[in-house]
């Protein structure tokens, strides 16, 4: 059970149940839809990025606790950040779940609560879905799948 507790930490469960910035955005400058064909999950990420600052970010969609919490934490983490800072966070997050080296709390801040996903390889795609979608939105791609 303890690995499960590491996966589903209280913070993760909270964000899964009551995600932050869970809303549509009419005035988005960037948006993208992410699919996880494995489970049928789908989320739309909205960004208002102006003057090299993420002015606002939100998301909508249906997903598991891990993907919802990850998206919610993402919105908290990147609001007010510059593009370079956002890109560094994306890299840090993906490293945390896919690289061999242990996660670096300095780079990750609050996002480190999702590090337990490393021990559940089949769930890594749930956690990375919103981050891949963010990458796609910034790169001007409308759609992305985790396959």
């Amino acid at each position: 059970m303890s690995e499960l507790r590491d996966l589903y930490q209280e913070v993760v469960l909270d964000h899964g149940r009551h995600p932050h910035n869970f809303r549509h955005m009419d005035e988005a400058s960037h948006q993208s839809v992410g699919f996880n064909p494995l489970c049928g999950d789908k989320l739309t990420l909205f960004l208002r990025y102006e003057d090299d600052v993420v002015q606002d970010v939100s998301f909508q969609g249906s997903g598991c606790a891990i993907s919802t919490a990850s998206a919610s934490l993402l919105t908290d983490a990147i609001k007010g950040k510059s593009r370079a800072e956002v890109e560094e966070l994306i890299a840090a997050f993906l490293d945390m779940l896919t690289a061999e080296s242990p996660p670096d709390p300095e780079r990750l801040g609050k996002l480190a609560v999702l590090s337990g996903v490393r021990d559940f390889p089949v769930r890594v795609k749930c956690a990375t879905l919103s981050w891949r979608t963010l990458e796609a939105a910034l790169g001007g791609t409308d759609e992305v799948t985790t396959e």
Binding site: L4, Y8, L38, C39, G40, A65, R123
Partner: protein, 414 residues
Amino acid sequence: MGTRMMPVGAYDVEAVRRDFPILRQQVYGKPLAYLDNAATTQKPQGVIDAVSEYYARSNANIHRGVHFLSEQATAAYEAVRDKARAFVGAADRSEIIFLRGTTEAVNLVAQAYGRSNLGPGDEVLITTMEHHSNIVPWQILCEQTGAALRVAPINDDGEVILEEYERLLRERTRIVGITHISNSLGTINPVREMIAMARRHGATVLVDGAQATAHTRVDVGALDCDFYTVSGHKMLAPTGVGFLYGRRQILDAMPPYQGGGDMIASVSFEKTTYNRLPQKFEAGTPHIAGVLGLGAAIDYLQEVGLERVAAHEEDLLDYATQKIAAIPGVRLVGTAQRKAAIVGFTLEQVHPHDVGTILDREGVAVRAGHHCAQPVMERFGVAATVRASFALYNTREEVDALERAILKVREFFA
């Protein structure tokens, strides 16, 4: 096999379990409860032995060698065709085409039959509950020929609405593709009645039998279908092997699906003539070991007795349905009158993927997802379901383990 003694009449599930070596293990320190049989079933020792003995003693290519091993392999391979013929009640051994499984069988029929028989304005009729492999090959065919795909709807219990199905059978309906048993809902379709209706309208009927053959006796003669598809891996046989039953006159009139070795009578650059049935549709070196494994799986199912398997699984279905439905927050998806031992459900406030992860750590293997039936998920307004699917070796104790694990999920996410 052969060493196990099962008293006539009684179903000794423990004796059956002993034939499946994979079941004797723990995962995460818990006894494995394998409840993902609709995805693929486990293999009895007899099947594993058939495959390994072929490689250890009689490996050779078939239908072409002049030597001892090749003759042996050919005879063993062709003997399985006879078993398969009898297993599904086909009239003639040449009506059995060995393939990779249902997916390849549906594609073969769509391309070899569909492309030469359908044109603009013609229609293919399927149902909402089809697996993607009984949808997409028809979509491809429709794109190639200008035919249209029609879909018979299902009701809230997950049953085909027969009046709607009959209304959609029209003069231009050339092909009807229906599943015998739904992998996502468990529904056992009234295929006999549906085939009779389709044939009254002159349609050619394919039945997707992927979920049926390990759980119920199939008789293609009594069903009177034109095609019936079988996936070996869902009936105790190895992966990558299965077969298509096809009505002889139709197969005879069809052009080949793939060209290559074994499917020809003679080849020259001016003119090639095709082999007779069934070789016409078996181009290339087949999965010989897999076919021998399939033969052993058929023997095993016959020995245990499909009627007794069906009765055992019905008991598990009733027990599991009652236990799971009683858990607060559970919504069953698929509540047909006639069902196979497949229980699909969602749990309030918890995504199926999260349910699956926690069940897994309790040793309970289920599937969480859309089950390659996204239109079904859409019909029921869910992104995914959790699915427990049972086979001949499952027990009531495993249902209890499933129930305990679901209660744990509720606790965890409370």
